[in-house]
């Protein structure tokens, strides 16, 4: 299989302000790449450009070996790329969880029954089968995240683009999220401020600063330090 993603000389601006300048990037088939950078550095814009939601000024987006320029080119590749938005609420729009997860498979031509089956299997594999009939807008932040991820995984993507996946996610759902990502067999681009999560998931890291991507290092410090923990009190 060819590399899932390659960016060549990509420049993007928004409302006349340059955001990304001559970005080059190659993503390996099973690579888990972290992109870090300050707020407003253009990380989200970079992810949006990859799926064609942002129109570049110059350069190429090459998905699975094919250069994509028009909406039609991107549309053919989008089922293979799952994009987890920063805000779960921007992603969930169906009344019930199961309908939302089945939305992607329906788009790619699955029958109603098949789509429902895929959706419930995906929920099961993420350990959230119990949420299937719940209303999406009444879920907790962490549950919403996982349902969003289920919606993407139901499309059996080869690449996941994750924009701040741990935002507003509690420890228990965070563990489910981590397990799901580590079990995912495709490539991942992870944008996050959560250093611990990045260190656990990513195999390579890049820093986005001054509109350009620069190599970064993930290293583990051994610290001996105080470390706050919050537990429920044991009441005798």
């Amino acid at each position: 299989m060819t590399e899932p993603l390659r960016l060549q000389n990509l420049s993007v601006s928004r409302d006349g302000t340059p955001i990304l300048d001559s970005i080059d990037l190659r993503l390996g088939e099973r690579e888990r790449l972290a992109i870090v950078g300050a707020n407003g550095a253009g990380k989200t814009t970079l992810l949006r450009s990859i799926v064609g939601l942002e129109k570049p000024d110059a350069g190429d987006v090459i998905l699975f070996g094919e250069p994509c320029r028009r909406e039609r080119d991107f549309r053919a590749k989008r089922p293979r790329i799952g994009f987890l938005f920063q805000e779960s609420d921007d992603q969930l729009f169906c009344p019930s969880v199961i309908e939302d997860v089945a939305f992607g498979p329906l788009n790619t031509g699955a029958s109603e029954a098949d789509a429902r089956l895929i959706a419930s299997q995906t929920l099961e594999s993420l350990g959230i089968a119990h949420l299937a009939e719940r209303f999406t807008h009444r879920l907790s932040g962490g549950e919403k995240r996982l349902v969003c991820l289920a919606g993407l995984l139901a499309m059996r993507p080869d690449v996941l683009l994750l924009d701040e996946p741990t935002n507003g996610v509690d420890a228990e759902n965070g563990a489910r999220l981590r397990a799901a990502l580590l079990a995912f067999s495709g490539a991942i681009i992870l944008v996050s401020h959560d250093d611990r999560f990045v260190a656990e998931i990513a195999t390579r890291a890049l820093v986005l600063a001054d509109r350009r991507l620069k190599p970064a290092e993930i290293h583990d410090h051994v610290h001996s330090h105080r470390h706050p923990h919050i537990h429920a009190k044991q009441v005798p």
């Binding site: 549309r75 729009f93 807008h137």
Partner: protein, 236 residues
């Protein structure tokens, strides 16, 4: 300065001028009004409201198609059982000129105005408080809801949604609209709670506005006077 700077006077003009124009019956005075509105536009620094006019002209075409055939009078052309009258054509042209003049005037008065400022001016004119509040809240939330709509649409595209005319598309759009409404309602509750927490008791603090300048009064009087003269010419 072609229009008054004071928003209260502009609001009065926006009511009085179209009301006077409505009474005009002759084609020549209606055209004169349209030309005057065009001249006012060229004299101002605002960009010409092509888009607004385009929306309007669509309806006017409908008028030109139907009115000549429905008004009795001297026949102009016959299409099978239908007969178009000269009176009908001239009535349609007069209406078109009047409507265009009014829309141009409204655009001139309000295109560059922030709706929130308009709220203050409406209150100063002693409009019912609840209507003013509705108006201000709607204009404030409209942008938020529109942004949410476009983000949800992006998310649908990212999950390979491609609108066609089939049940899946209609249901998806139905869900999208439903979700927008549910979220808007919930947001409205949250906004109200936040307002109450900051001491809102059902009334907005009223910012006193300075009186209009003499120049503003003069311009307003001139505009109303000119339109009244037009009406006199029409009735003479």
């Amino acid at each position: 300065m072609t229009i008054p700077g004071d928003l209260r006077l502009r609001l009065c003009l926006a009511f009085v001028l179209p009301a006077l124009l409505t009474a005009v019956n002759g084609f020549a005075p209606a055209c004169a009004a349209m030309v005057a509105a065009l001249l006012l536009h060229t004299g101002s620094r605002q960009s010409f409201p092509w888009k607004r006019l385009l929306h309007l002209e669509g309806f006017l075409i409908l008028l030109f198609v139907t009115l000549p055939f429905t008004m009795p009078g001297t026949p102009l052309l016959t299409l099978g059982p239908l007969t178009a009258s000269i009176e009908g054509v001239s009535r349609a042209a007069t209406l078109a000129a009047k409507v265009t003049a009014s829309v141009l005037l409204l655009a001139l008065l309000f295109a560059a105005t922030d709706p929130l400022h308009l709220g203050n001016a409406l209150r100063a004119l002693h409009m019912p408080e609840s209507l003013v509040r509705l108006f201000v809240a709607v204009t404030r939330q409209f942008g938020v809801i529109r942004a949410e709509f476009s983000r949800l649409q992006d998310a649908m595209r990212a999950r390979a949604f491609h609108p066609c005319s089939n049940r899946h598309t209609w249901r998806s759009y139905g869900n999208l609209m439903g979700m927008l409404i549910v979220r808007a309602l919930e947001r409205a509750d949250r906004v109200e709670e936040a307002m109450r927490l900051r001491g809102y008791t059902g009334r907005f603090p009223r910012t006193a506005l300075a009186g209009p300048s003499a120049a503003d009064w003069a311009v307003t009087a001139a505009m109303i006077g000119a339109t009244a003269l037009l009406l006199l010419w029409d009735k003479a």
